[in-house]
């Protein structure tokens, strides 16, 4: 962060100033207490594990998205890469290829798509929101032509896949462990490695980073490859959980939910700030909220309404507590 001068997060961290992250934590705690007090079995061990399990896919995707947003990018290809990468694996396994090998091929395809996206953003310098929007659509479209059906099922006798979906270690479901591992690795990578610091520098001020001599292009390309691989991992989690992958997920609001988690947690779209902790905070709020509303049997429409009102509320509170100054408004959002 030295490269970027005095960071805005430093100010927030020092004083009693409440960051958006703390606002979200506060809302989560209030909701958690309210649900625990009013709903039977909300506080049970089983339900807490269910909450974590139900956000594992969303959370894993959000870790990848957060990583990109920190570097002042956005990756709208994640859901497309997730469904097409995994569907591709299943598709080639139907030719008689060993399923594990097929998964490796799917991961390679995902990485290749990430590489292409990265080159489009970093070298061709297409703004990431447009580049990834277009690539997402073409990736999904190609998949749609190649695979006959929207829903593809994995072979039913793959032991490791069953373990991913229903296995537990010390009572914790594998999917939650995978999510935690991806988040922990990313946290370590961002905060403790030189590369991670370079991502912050690039996100905070790309021009300054390049002028200083940082390899901004390779950094951006690597980011997109990693986010594509994380998206593929989320797809494998889904395959383990429900035995099949539905490529129509691309048409759902999942990618916006992922962005919601990232922004809600307090990773600014202007880049250079926030980290994995913000993603986890956002993920847990969405998890608690969805779980409580499902128990309360709220309709789908009202669930979406409440979710968006809470997002808007969190952003509004943040805007009041942390008003934009000259520096933040100059750095600009996407």
């Amino acid at each position: 962060m030295e490269l970027a001068g005095p960071g805005k997060s430093d100010g927030a961290r020092m004083g009693i100033k409440m960051s958006q992250e703390l606002v979200v934590v506060a809302i989560s705690v209030i909701l958690f207490i309210a649900f625990s007090a009013t709903l039977n079995n909300f506080l049970s061990q089983g339900n807490i594990i269910a909450i974590l399990k139900n956000v594992s896919i969303l959370g894993t995707l959000a870790v990848g998205m957060g990583f990109i947003v920190v570097g002042r990018g956005i990756d709208l290809t994640m859901v497309a890469v997730m469904v097409v990468g995994v569907a591709f694996s299943i598709w080639i396994s139907t030719w008689g290829v060993d399923f594990t090998l097929a998964v490796v091929c799917g991961a390679l395809l995902a990485a290749a798509i990430g590489l292409f996206t990265g080159i489009m953003v970093a070298v061709a310098e297409i703004p990431p929101i447009f580049a990834t929007l277009a690539i997402a659509s073409s990736v999904y479209g190609s998949g749609r032509i190649v695979f006959a059906s929207d829903v593809l099922y994995a072979p039913s006798n793959i032991a490791w896949l069953k373990f991913v979906g229903s296995g537990t270690v010390l009572g914790i479901p594998m999917v939650v462990i995978i999510f935690a591992a991806v988040a922990a690795l990313m946290g370590f990578f961002l905060k403790k490695t030189r590369f991670g610091r370079l991502v912050y520098a690039t996100g905070d001020n790309p021009n300054a980073a390049r002028t200083t001599g940082l390899p901004t292009r390779p950094i951006i390309v690597t980011q997109y490859v990693i986010s594509a691989l994380i998206a593929f991992t989320a797809g494998i989690i889904m395959l383990g959980l429900v035995t099949g992958i539905d490529t129509r997920l691309y048409n759902s609001s999942l990618i916006y939910d992922v962005l919601l988690v990232v922004v809600l947690g307090g990773i600014g779209l202007s880049g250079g700030q926030g980290g994995v902790r913000n993603v986890i905070v956002g993920t847990i709020l969405v998890g608690i909220l969805t779980n409580g509303m499902t128990i309360l049997n709220f309709s789908y429409t009202s669930q979406n309404l409440i979710k968006s009102v809470i997002l808007l509320g969190a952003l509004a509170i943040d805007a009041i507590i942390n008003p934009r100054d000259e520096q933040t408004s100059q750095s600009g959002d996407i």
């Binding site: 709903l39 039977n40 079995n41 049970s44 089983g46 339900n47 269910a50 399990k53 139900n54 896919i57 749609r144 006959a148 059906s149 929207d150 829903v151 099922y153 039913s156 979906g165 229903s166 889904m238 959980l241 429900v242 035995t243 099949g244 539905d246 490529t247 129509r248 997920l249 048409n251 759902s252 969805t290 779980n291 499902t294 128990i295 049997n297 309709s299 789908y300 429409t301």
Partner: protein, 338 residues
């Protein structure tokens, strides 16, 4: 030399006899009405606007209709909006502008195309609706009796979840899209059964949006809340495998009965064999497609009848499929239909 001559003569005679025979058979055995039938269908234009061609039922319909189209010389064009309602509206507008002889439509919900269907009929285009109805009734509807479907599924749960031996009276309805025709009408059937069995307790009524992961999440949460859950009913076998996965993960496969409906493709049968689903009310989409094909040929054979002048309805068959009969014709594969 003589031999050659004889052979040649014999050959020629045989040929001429064969030729004569051909002419006479053609004249004598032309099937009554076939020529005008072929004439009526030849060169006619049919446009199909589905919800999405990625679904198993849609694929089987189109395979069957394409076979009819190729055999009898009408054209079938599929304008796939791929689940996007706006693209669907554009596809419908485009189809109406082209003035085909017939539009086949699978409605995403009861309202979206309601006015467009009226426009099509006003423009003299006949409209056949398949499986998902609109608020506007047109020349023909071929598909499920969805009220009966709701009654059958909830009736199945009533069998398991009432009486002294039931685990509990708690049941779940995993809906699809709340504005869809299937959803609205199934709900009517469900309510009838619930009224007749007041001890049944509907503990959750949430749409899974035809997505297996959403179905899994809802089921997992509901199971925490109601560990003694007795039954779950859904709307599409490919989505309810998610509910099955949640029940299996909780180790409650023997306790919770999962009932749904489906097009009858082999993947549904696999899910029954894997223990993810218990009962599928199979509406056998290839047979639906044959009934619709019959409607296509009827509508094309009578160009003199005004669009919308007659309104007919055909409900397809529904077969209850469980472990005992998840085989053969109840589990079709697309390649076998071609």
């Amino acid at each position: 030399m003589k031999l050659l001559k004889n052979c040649l003569f014999a050959g020629l005679t045989a040929l001429s006899l064969l030729g004569a025979a051909n002419v006479t058979t053609a004249q004598e055995t032309d099937q009554v009405g076939r020529a005008p039938y072929l004439e009526a269908l030849k060169g006619k234009k049919v446009i199909f606007v589905p919800i999405s061609q990625g679904m198993d039922l849609n694929q089987s319909w189109v395979v069957v209709w394409q076979r009819h189209a190729a055999r009898y010389g009408f054209s079938l064009e599929v304008r796939d909006p791929n689940g996007d309602t706006n693209a669907g509206i554009r596809a419908m507008q485009g189809a109406i502008a082209e003035k085909p002889d017939l539009i086949i439509v699978q409605n995403p919900d009861v309202q979206t195309y309601a006015r467009l269907l009226k426009q099509a009929q006003a423009a003299g285009i006949k409209v056949l609706q398949v499986n998902m109805q609109s608020a506007t009734q047109t020349d023909s509807y071929v598909g499920n009796d969805w009220i009966e479907m709701g009654r059958l599924e909830m009736g199945e749960l009533a069998k398991h979840c009432t009486g002294p031996n039931a685990v509990s009276h708690k049941v779940v309805w995993l809906a699809g899209v709340q504005t869809g025709a299937a959803n609205i009408y199934m709900r009517t059937g469900i309510d009838e059964v619930l009224k007749a069995n007041p001890e049944l307790q509907l503990v959750s009524d949430q749409p899974a949006d035809y997505m297996s992961e959403k179905a899994r999440q809802i089921t997992e949460t509901v199971l925490q809340q109601h560990p003694d859950l007795c039954g779950i009913m859904g709307i599409w076998d490919n989505a309810e495998v998610g509910a099955g996965a949640a029940v299996a993960a909780a180790g409650k496969q023997d306790q919770v009965t999962i009932v749904t409906n489906g097009a009858g493709s082999a993947t549904g049968c696999e899910s029954i064999k894997n223990g993810l689903l218990d009962v599928i009310f199979n509406f056998n989409s290839p047979i639906q497609a044959e009934i619709a094909a019959q409607q296509i040929s009827e509508l094309l054979q009578h160009p003199e009848r005004q669009a919308g002048s007659e309104k007919t309805i055909f409900f397809g068959p529904i077969t209850r499929v469980d472990k005992t009969n998840a085989a053969g014709r109840n589990c079709w594969k697309l390649d076998e239909l071609k």
